[in-house]
Symmetry: D2
Subunit: 503 residues, 4 copies
């Protein structure tokens, strides 16, 4: 599974393992597995605060709640189990859905959010600090709705839920064809070993498990760049098994969540993890896409001198226009104080870079997968010493120099690992797109409107998401007059821009 390799890391995992986890049940019989259900009250309080900051989701409840459009729909979500996600989940349930949920990152769960949802609203399998085995166990639990099979709809973030089904179906077909069961030993990739183990074990109990899921599935809505990239690859290779809506490329997602969300959460993560003064420091941001732009802006505004590395000359020129220097990592590796990867690519900061860094240079990743930083190279570096300052903040000391670097969240999403991710308001934009995408898939489930392809939401829905968030900020929009509307050939009610408009 080449497209899976990115998220692979067996670092903290033993070579063999067993799935000895047990599902718990609420008084009402709903399944869950969370860290501490007693945190539910605290989660509920923060959930209530978040609701005030998430006008898009609350507007969905007001508009669609009465008609219960998700009545009868089973939704499985694999997406950071945070307070904001909790408001999304309860929006889905308020619209009639039944929901099962897991996190899409081993460090991103907020345990009080998980507790509140598990107690009050949906089946949750998620806690902060899962092992990779636990992570995939949670994913599998999330997708498994019991004897009746799988979900009707998936909310995915990074594509792991989608991947498990695709890999499961592939294995089942192979098994049917050749009797061959998946062999975890067939791969060097330790995370993929786990996936194969789960599928193999699944095969033993039901050789059509994932195919049944696929057959039931109406579609998936995918949250993030990385997951979207996987979907387009599958679309191109003709292996995509169900329709997909690319939520990431809604303007109100990628140009808000990725940009302004990271502008908020990068310094938040840095501060919570290290308390380091950003002003005066030299900070290297690898990549100047939306995420990189947000990170660079935040660091610059906090008083750092920012240097960007880029492969794309257009993005590089954008950085230059903002006064940001474009260099290669090699040029600056010994001079910088803070390194942030945002590329969506792999092998960005290698152990050989890390060896050359200043003492206590901070190295972190805010891209979806954890392979931007060569954690494997670091962990296996001869004589390297790991000193855990606190969870998700480790100092790694090299034997030659006796100097160290500080790695956040073990190379995973530092804003979710070290802080609380993106704030509610911007997630409300993203998640309102999710709700709209799920509604659209569900409404059209029988019409054939959506084929096994990747779709983006139409412009007018994108604009609607934005409009739902203006009132909270006291904005007053101007209305086109009829004459103006005719003059520029744009309807008074929009959409206001051509599809290719870049914002």
């Amino acid at each position: 599974s080449p497209h899976h390799s990115p998220s692979t890391s067996a670092r903290s995992n033993p070579p063999t393992f067993s799935m000895a986890l047990s599902v718990e049940k609420t008084a009402s019989g709903r399944e869950y597995k969370v860290k501490d259900l007693s945190q539910a009250d605290f989660g509920r309080l923060e959930l209530e605060l978040a609701e005030v900051e998430m006008p898009g989701l609350m507007a969905c409840r007001a508009e669609f709640g009465p008609s219960q459009p998700f009545k009868g729909a089973r939704i499985s979500g694999s997406l950071h189990m945070t307070i904001q996600t909790a408001v999304l989940i309860e929006t889905l349930t308020a619209l009639g859905a039944e929901v099962r949920w897991c996190s899409c990152n081993i460090f991103s769960t907020q345990d009080h959010a998980a507790a509140a949802i598990a107690r009050d609203s949906a089946a949750v399998f998620a806690w902060k600090g899962e092992t990779l085995e636990e992570y995939w166990w949670c994913t599998e639990r999330c997708l498994d709705w019991g004897a009746g099979g799988g979900p009707d709809l998936i909310v995915d973030d990074g594509g792991d839920a989608t991947l498990l089904i695709h890999e499961g179906v592939k294995a089942e077909e192979e098994f049917e064809r050749s009797g061959k069961v998946p062999d975890p030993a067939s791969t060097d990739n330790p995370e993929f070993k786990i996936v194969l183990t789960i599928i193999r074990d699944g095969l033993k109990t039901d050789a059509r498990k994932y195919r049944k899921m696929k057959e039931r599935l109406v579609g998936v809505s995918e949250e993030t760049t990385t997951g979207v990239k996987r979907l387009y690859q599958m679309q191109e290779s003709g292996t995509l098994l169900f329709p997909a809506i690319n939520v990431n490329d809604s303007v109100t997602k990628s140009k808000f969540d990725n940009l302004y969300g990271c502008r908020h959460s990068l310094p938040d993560g840095l501060m919570r993890a290290t308390d380091v003064m950003i002003a005066g420091k030299v900070a290297v941001v690898c990549g100047y896409g939306d995420v990189g732009k947000g990170c660079a802006a935040a660091l610059k505004q906090a008083g750092a001198r920012v240097i960007v590395t880029e492969i794309d000359p257009i993005c590089a020129l954008q950085a230059l226009m903002e006064g940001i220097q474009i260099l290669t990592l090699e040029d600056v590796v010994s001079d910088a104080d803070i390194f942030v990867t945002t590329t969506g690519n792999k092998d960005i900061i290698m152990v050989d870079h890390m060896r050359k860094m200043k003492n206590n240079a901070i190295v972190c990743n805010i891209g979806h997968f954890d392979n931007e930083i060569d954690m494997n190279g670091l962990e296996t570096y001869p004589g390297v010493k790991r000193i855990t300052i606190k969870p998700q903040t480790d100092r790694w000391v090299f034997p030659e120099t006796n100097t160290g670097i500080i790695v956040l969240a073990e190379g995973r999403l530092m804003n979710l690992g070290c802080a609380t991710g993106h704030p509610s308001f911007v997630m409300s934009c993203s998640f309102t797109n999710q709700v709209i995408a799920q509604l659209e898939l569900w409404k059209e489930k029988a019409t054939g409107k959506y084929e096994k392809k990747v779709y983006v939401l139409p412009k007018h829905l994108d604009e609607k998401v934005a409009a739902l968030h203006l009132g909270k900020l006291g904005a007053r929009l101007t209305k086109l007059t009829k004459a103006q509307s005719e003059y520029i050939s744009i309807p008074v009610e929009g959409p206001y821009k051509p599809a290719a408009y870049r914002y």
Copy 2:
């Protein structure tokens, strides 16, 4: 011609006129009409400075000059006759073209630039402060290559050259059909009166003049949003007469020229026209597209408190995320000190707004056409008094209050009317796209690759334009490794982004 109405304004023109302008000739026999040929030396000096700032154009000369790809091509350009455009013209001639040029705005010519080009390189018909009759006379001169007919290629900005040919063809066909000649009296639009007069007079000497032009024409490359909008409207209505390349929507044009160009030139125009302190002022920017974003950024950075008006909720939400208030013009008309229109729409600031403004509020437009500000309403306001402080800076005093407002460049493009437009470096990005578009049209003239439609340049050429501008700024790009390239399924040499990527 409804799509033409935007640029119409007969304000400073008498109802009747005659084309008594005479073409002059250089020693070598090349035609021209400029203000003062003796400014050619000064123009040449500034041209030489600009060349150092326009690495994209100079790279085109180096790469393509030797093979003379434009050998035999006639290029007519209607685009602000500035120093930067002069470097574009001499790039086209360096690649083998013969060139005729006019400006696309009555105030935008830099007379020393026109003089240098007229003397040294191409036929120029342009001066700062044309009347509208003069303007259209220049346009017609620019398109008329003598007996042999018209140009092979057009570089257009706003679409007036394209419009003249389309209207001419329409009139000739009508004349052939019905014997009817265009009647300037048939329209209330004073500028369109002039267009019809020119076409009528042309008909008298050659009833196939514009059709011959059309037949020869290989295509047009269009520079700006407004012209592009016209082209798409013609494409939709099936009336487009030749292929068009939309240069405006190259990323390296619209996300650079429109954004960073205006960020530079808006304060420049304000300062040269009024010397007003921007810090501390309340500035209203109407529209938050690329141009509006550049203007708002410039004003904010200069210490103004910026308020934006928008119809589009997405752009409005972007402004809010930058701490910019979104209100309607009515909300703030009495409180603000500076008003800038950037919408591409009409009727943005009406005389009724202007009456309510603070004494000496500054009102200006940086959109392509001059109908964003209700100049007609202002000029015909009973008892209004116009006091010209200096050219392109007028104070208009209302009789009721005896307070005045300051209008820049008579409501036309203030950055070109009051300052020198966009700086060379960013124009090098735009104009390198123009050169590439012209090369492409010319290369494919016989292949049928381009139909009578509107095209954008492919991503890899857009990236090439950016790449040509990095060295000047000392940037060092990172190279993808082969493994990374495979992992993200992007060629090592690009293009690096999907077509819909928003930057």
Copy 3:
């Protein structure tokens, strides 16, 4: 004691109390009282990180450590017991001092820092979340060096240690004069009740206790604006009992710690306490001194629309020049989302303001004392309901509207209550001034150089503090040539500016 009233708050305290706290001892016999000594290892790890970020303090250790200038000196400190302060303490001990310490704010202690210091270096009496009785007990413990009396030197922050001695001496003199003991019932001020109780109890055991302290005391160095104000008031009224060095007004303190420290720690506190998205919000900063400037800059850069309230027209004009609106609190109380007090004055945000705020408006204080926000008015508001979201984050719901506001750190210093205060680097500037001030007082203890007055450090020491922090940031200073030095009449080695220079 009118100058004490600011810090008064009996809110969470019963009217009567007893000092039933017990001192603990390390194996080596050093006294302490901290929350959890087992956190010492964690504290040590963070201390080691902080050392790398505090080049000024480390330079002091390198320069002065060998000569042990504090040999024989007893230093008592009343200053937020954080990781950064721990590095200060260990710098003092590295220079030969014996140290006792307490925090100057009930919420500002970092328990792991306190633990590390208590275990390894000095006598500490501090924990996060002290009651006011505990707070003053700690202060008294910090000042009491046993039979031998008090400290030789005090490091004070806000002036509570200084106040206790002054009040103690006053009471002893009154007692000697009239036999009258301090009567806690004589004051309405609940915190001052506690102070009087402590002094009264002290009188019972030693009627010269505070006078002996005063006699021994060489001087105090004071950290912050508020404490400095108290000292100048005492200087003016002739009641100051020992020399004082005003560290706050070193440029490298007030223009760095107050400004850049708050620019860092205000958003940090907001994010940790509420996770609220700052972008798009309306934020009101009360006061535009150094602290207010830092707060406003941080909020603006994070994308908020900032409004400042000011009494001082000069500071107001500075804000306007940065595009920040100046209004009164009344003008904006119903529209804003975030309120921050930075004034050093009292009664800034009253309960009557809070009642009119938007639901979930955030109200916090970053000024030294907790009387900027009318917590008393809030707590005693009829029917008000307090919901503790988490420690230091409370939602207060008004009965009329059933809407609530969110108050951080109970109105106390939110950056220390909700986050970890200022980062190490900027504290290194402040604390290097402290070390230098303490060295200066101690060196001159017998020379009479310092009278019972308030002094600032000379410019060249201020510049030295800055210079010690440049290397860490990779800066390379320019050197004056001899000719330049003569031309501007400034020594090559500085000081480079006249005393009144404002930076």
Copy 4:
């Protein structure tokens, strides 16, 4: 006169000269010498615009005009003869003064402003592009009120008027003592040769001319850092001949004019002189005082990458906290695109630096005197070629490399030489201080309040200046309550800060 050497430059002047300039007279008999009196109407229009932007001066007219406090006072001013200064002059005359004026820089006069004042209000001797002989002739004319002697008051900027009197008195005393007349040949400094010539010629007609001036003089108010430095040097050496008020160090001058004025006028000058795109460029600012801070902020906001050179570690650390790199000029001389000197020192950019710069690097000075850039070294560099692009914009080409640099305003104040200096609003702050200082000197002329020393205005007047500028910007100040006032021991009406407060 060692302290004079800074402003010396004989570059464009012949070694010998004669004062063959003739004074002209208005119909009313007032003397003047300006470039073109017919520009008076244009000047008047811009003056009227400026009045709206200068609320402080207009408030002075309203408050003090009726009582004519300057009745009988002769004021001589040596200060850039711009539109803003014209409003100052007419404020002085509106308060009853008679005024004579010259510019304090050979390039800084705006000829239309000079014309309007010469025609309507005061005796003016100033034009843009004076030779140094003309410059000193103008200064002498400005000080010479005819038979009755000199002025009662001086408004000085840089101290040249003050210097002429001091040098004159010195020469007269020497002549009285020894019969020795000043010998222009005694100095190598070409500008000082001119000064000595003027004084020598004066001696011939009246051997007590400058002493009579001195005796009449009530005092001087000095505008700028450089002039103030001279005054303090004279105060220290006991040679100051009359009282002086240091206007520069009013907060509302140095922290506004120097900072926000330059933030406005530096990019303005760069754009008008070169049209260069600032975004993406590397800009070096020499010096990070108030002027340097303003310049660096402007360049950074325009998208340049800014590097600062500093001698002062405190200012350097301030730059670092804003993300600005601190290097030496040598470190960056070959990499930067724009160089700005702001130091008030000499020999900052030497010809040896200039030789190493990139082709078309821009070199300019915004400090008061023209000796920051080694113009002499440049002009005398063997084989160097000067190409004047336009007035005040020269390209200097070095023979070895055939590459050139662009020098603005011949190394003099580029914002006044290439643009129009600081905008009206911020000059209103500065000049309101001037009016208040002049009023104060005049009011106390007979009281002995002011000795032959340098004074700053008291804080409450500084605050008043600020207050006069708030209304124009729509600000609403908060009022202290009586309780608050007592609590912080600050009067309700201010002053609000201690004298040493740094803002």
